[in-house]
Symmetry: C3
Subunit: 200 residues, 3 copies
C-alpha cells in the first residue's frame, strides 16, 4: 500500500520534471534526465549523505520503469495537461507526504536525532525539485513562492509528537501522511505563503 | 592502453571545461575548478552514488596532474584553439567512449542491473559536462542540442549485447569503445539530433 | 577553542548565505536553506566524497542551532548589516582559516596525499559558497572576483611545510590559521586579484 503511494509520488514528481524540461525546449534526453532527477534526486541526496549506497533507485528498478512511463506519458499528452492539473496536483501532494515519511524513516533507522530526521524527510521530498530547477537554470521555486518544504517540516514534527502516543506503525504513517496532505491542500486553497524577506 | 585513453579523455574534458570557463571571464582559479569538475565530476558523482569512497581521483594523482597540464595548456594556447578544433573533438570523443566503459564496469563489479550500469556509464561520461554548465550558469548543453548522452546509452546497450557472445574482456572493451566513437563521429558528420520537445 | 572558532565560522558563513538569499527576495524557508547550505555545504561535499557518513552536521546538532541563530539574527538585523560589515568580514575570514584546516585534517586522517588534502581543505572552505551561488542562480563569486580559494591552497601548502618542522599539533593549527587569516586581510587591504583569463 505504502509502496504503491511511493510509486504514485515518483510518477508525479517525474511528470513535474518532464513538464518543466519541455517548457525549457529541451530535447528528449534532457526531458528524461530532468524527470529522473526530479523523481529520485531527493532520495539520492539523502542516501548519499547518510551513506546508504548504492543509492535506493539502483536496487529497485520499479522506480526506473515508473519514470520511463511518466516521461512517455508526459510527452504524448503534453497538450492535455491543463485538464489534468487537479489530478497532477493530488499525485504531487501524495508524493510530498510519502517521500517525507520515507526520509524520516531512514533517519530513524540509523538512530539520528529527530531534527536531523525531519531534515532528511524534507530533503527527500523537496530536493528533487530543487535540483530540477537548478538544471533548468531557475532559482528553486520552493525558495520563493510555494509553502512546500514548510509542510514537510510540520509533518515531521507531527510525526515525532504522534510517536509519543505509541501508535501502531501503520497508523502513525497513515496519520502523518494524511496530515501533510491536508495541510498542503489547505495551504493551496487558502493561499498560505511564507513571507518574503527582502533586503537591498 | 585503456589507462592511457582514460587520461586522454580526462585531458580533453578538462580542456573543454577550461575553454568554457574562459568564455565566462573567470579568474585563474575558476578556470582550474571548472576544468577539474568537468574532467572528474561524472566519475565523482558515480563513485559517491555507489559508495566507492574516497572517490577515484583522490587515490590516483595522475588525473590531477593531467588536469593541471590541460589547464596550463588551455590558458597558454587559448588563441590557437580554433585550429585545434578537430583534435579536441577527437579527444573528447575518446573520453566519451572510455568514460562510458569505466562507468559500466564499476556497476558490473558490484552486481548492479544492466540498466543501472548503463545509467552509471552515462553519468560518468556526461555529468562532468552537466556540472560544468551549471557552474557556468547555463542550461546543460547535452539537454538541448548535442546527441551525446544518447550515444552512451546506445554504447551501453551494445556492450551488454556483445557480452552475450563471451568475447575476451579486452576485445569487448575495445569493440564497444570503437562503436561509441563511430556513432559520435557519424552523429556529428550527419547532424543527427534528438527532437526538441516543446510545450508552452 | 578550535571548536569555538569552527562555530564562529559556521555562523559567519550562514549569515553570508542568509544575506545573499534575502537579496534574491526568497521566502523564510529559502533564506534558511541557503544559509544552511552555505554553512555546511563544503563540509558535506567533503564528507560525501571521502565516505564519512552520516555527514558531520548530522551528528553534532550545535551546527544546526548555530545556523538557526544566524538566520534569525540576519533577518532581524538585516537593515543594520552595513554597520556590521567589518565584524562580518572578520568572522568570515576566521571561518575560511578554520574550515580549511578541518578539511586538511580529515584528508590526513585517512591517509590521502597532501595534494588531495589541500583540495579537501579548499572544498570545505569554499564550496558552501559555490553551492550558495548556484542555488541563487549566479556564477560562483569565487570563480570571478575574490582571491579566496587561492588563500586556502596557499594555507594548505604552508601547513605541509610547517608539518616538516615537527611542531606540536596545536601550534601547527594555530600558525596555519593565522597565516590564512593574515593573507586574506592583506589580499583585501591591498586589493590582490587573480587575473581574469578571457577568451572569445
Amino acid at each position: 500500500m505504502f509502496h504503491i503511494l511511493d510509486i504514485i509520488g515518483t510518477i508525479a514528481f517525474a511528470l513535474s520534471g518532464a513538464l518543466t524540461a519541455m517548457s525549457k525546449r529541451m530535447d528528449a534526453f534532457g526531458v528524461f534526465i530532468v524527470a529522473f532527477v526530479t523523481a529520485v534526486g531527493g532520495g539520492t541526496l539523502r542516501d548519499v549523505m547518510i551513506g546508504r549506497t548504492p543509492v535506493g533507485w539502483m536496487l529497485d528498478l520499479v522506480y526506473v520503469y515508473a519514470i520511463i512511463f511518466a516521461v512517455v506519458f508526459a510527452v504524448l499528452f503534453r497538450k492535455k495537461f491543463d485538464r489534468l492539473r487537479t489530478s497532477l496536483f493530488l499525485f504531487d501532494t501524495i508524493g510530498l507526504g510519502v517521500f517525507t515519511l520515507i526520509g524520516l524513516e531512514k533517519g530513524i533507522n540509523i538512530g539520528l536525532h529527530p531534527i536531523v530526521c525531519i531534515a532528511l524527510g524534507t530533503i527527500t521530498a523537496c530536493f528533487g525539485g530543487v535540483i530540477r530547477d537548478i538544471l533548468c537554470n531557475d532559482i528553486p521555486v520552493i525558495f520563493r513562492r510555494e509553502i512546500y518544504a514548510t509542510i514537510c517540516i510540520l509533518g515531521g514534527i507531527m510525526f515525532f509528537i504522534l510517536l509519543e502516543f505509541n501508535l501502531a506503525k501503520d497508523i502513525l504513517y497513515i496519520t502523518t501522511s494524511i496530515i501533510i496532505i491536508l495541510i498542503r491542500l489547505m495551504a493551496v486553497k487558502f493561499k498560505w505563503y511564507l513571507p518574503t524577506i527582502e533586503h537591498k
